[in-house]
Amino acid sequence: MNHWIIAPVVLPALLAPVIGFVMRHDIVLARTASIFGAVAMLAIAVGLFVMSGGDPQVYYLGNWPAPFGIVLVLDRLSAVMVLLTSVLALIVLLHAVATGWDSRGRHFHALFQFQLMGIVGAFLTGDIFNLFVFFEILLIASYGLMIHSGGKDRMRAGLQYVVINLAGSTLFLFALGVLYATTGTLNIADLALRLQEIPPEEAALVRVAAMLLLIVFGLKAALFPVQFWLPATYANAPAPVAALFAIMTKVGAYAILRIHTVVFGPGIDATDGLVQTWLLPAAIVTIAIGAIGVLGARRLMPLIAFSVVGSMGTLMAAISAFTPEATTAALYYLVHSTFAAAVLFLVADLVVTRRGRDSLAVQPATVQNGLFAALFFAAAIAMAGMPPLSGFLGKLLVLDALRDPGTMVWAWAAILLGSLLTIVGLARAGSQLFWKSVSVTNDDADEETPEADEDPTKRPAGATEVAPTVVALAVLAALTVLAGPVSNYLDGATEQLFDRDGYVTSVLGTEGEE
């Protein structure tokens, strides 16, 4: 058995308590350990990525055979998600350290590591109840990160975030109850096996479970009509945290991909057509909500948050087809939109720190206006899905894959019009922030703050502060240039995902010790 599979979970799980409980008075030590952890995580993720080439590899926790114990499954999809998480995490972590966000409240690094543990664990698990547990880990860690450093608005938005997710967790458990009651198992492979045996005329309860799970995952993925929480949460979260949250919505998307493809997916009579019917319309409305929100935003952080909503809509539209081709497109778009959202939040952080607030109202140009404008322009291009960055390719892939004649027009119209509104909205924002500001002179601002070097708004961003953003952009560029090989790999991941029998055989095969 390949023990490396559990490493990305155990590493942060052991590191976080040490950081949180032993190093809690020493930020330098905590930073060092945390960065070490993130780097090690990246190394492990790369290793797993390399190892994930063949059949799905199964890790039997406690050495119990599946489906009786809990298993981890390393396949191409989970490998790619873990790699994505660890790259993003390192970038965000370096940004948080460089900008000092991590020291504006307590326990940032411990929560960050726990957050990683939860996300990675969710990607690797092959057990649906364990998925719930890791959802809870990543959620509770995200609650802590969300309200990191406190403040009125953040606390209230954080409260809402907690409440809606608690409601979601409750629903998750309801769904699991129904699922266990009808199938008697929790292992995803075993579920897939048992679902095949349920005839449609006896499938009412299973269908309810599938639907409830869709809503649960949709809530995480900010899918209409359960997307309402996202804008306020992301807009009020500390910017690096919001950047990290770019992966959180993807956890929901991943869960839909995994569960609603392997367990309730194509070829399962019991739940045939159930999810597809609802997912695409919901995705389309989500795109609209995102685009409208971007266009109507008064402030930068909500604007970005709404753009995340829109990108999730596009992603969900691609997923809703449940075809291998569309899934590859979805995965490519997933990777892209994660970095696009993250880089926008990181740029926003640099800008908002200099401007002193996240309003789009015109105020005098800050230091390094040109640099920030360039970074914002690049990030906005990525998010809006304009060339030359990967968003355009992602969008093309998604559009190209959504060819079902019945729904094509709606999906295309939504995605393309959504792009247009997003472009207009981002252009407005950029113009307000970086162009109009040039025509305003600051006459009174100087008088108010004589000691300019003390003022964070006057301090130019150093190389370490800008570097993570640039790296994230470089990732997007690499994703563009290497679109072929990347899609090739993702094709492999999709193929595995749709190979239900292969998955079931790998997990329930004879490898476990009896």
């Binding site: 309200i147 954080g158 109850g177 009651a181 789009l360």
Partner: protein
């Protein structure tokens, strides 16, 4: 017996839902607590009901036992929801202290385009 359990779950859920739709955080907390009761019982009942068959192995081999797995799941769920509730209570308290107001809804969006500080 089944109808008793099912109706209890229904009542707890309904009450919980009604309370989380109220406008104050405290009611929401109560509602989520009730929902948590409801879902625990619901999950527990997915192992079906059994009287006097606790899954404690006895020395006599022929004894019947109820399904232990949902019980373990509920235990995990109880503990997790305890942690969650604790955090929720703290965040609610924090939000109240910060804003002098325990409304669950946010203030209506600012018309002034004033931004938030980072």
């Amino acid at each position: 017996m089944e109808i008793v359990v099912a109706s209890s779950v229904a009542a707890l859920t309904a009450a919980g839902v009604y309370l989380i739709l109220r406008l104050r955080t405290f009611a929401t907390i109560l509602g989520l607590a009730l929902l948590s009761y409801a879902v625990n019982v619901f999950l527990f009942s997915s192992g079906r009901l059994a009287i006097d068959l606790p899954p404690i192995l006895s020395k006599y081999g022929d004894a019947g036992y109820t399904d232990p797995l949902p019980q373990a799941l509920v235990l995990t769920a109880i503990v997790i929801s305890f942690g969650m509730t604790a955090v929720l209570v703290m965040v609610a308290l924090g939000a109240f202290v910060e804003s002098d107001d325990d409304k669950i809804d946010m203030d209506s969006p600012d018309e002034t385009e004033e931004g938030n500080a980072p």
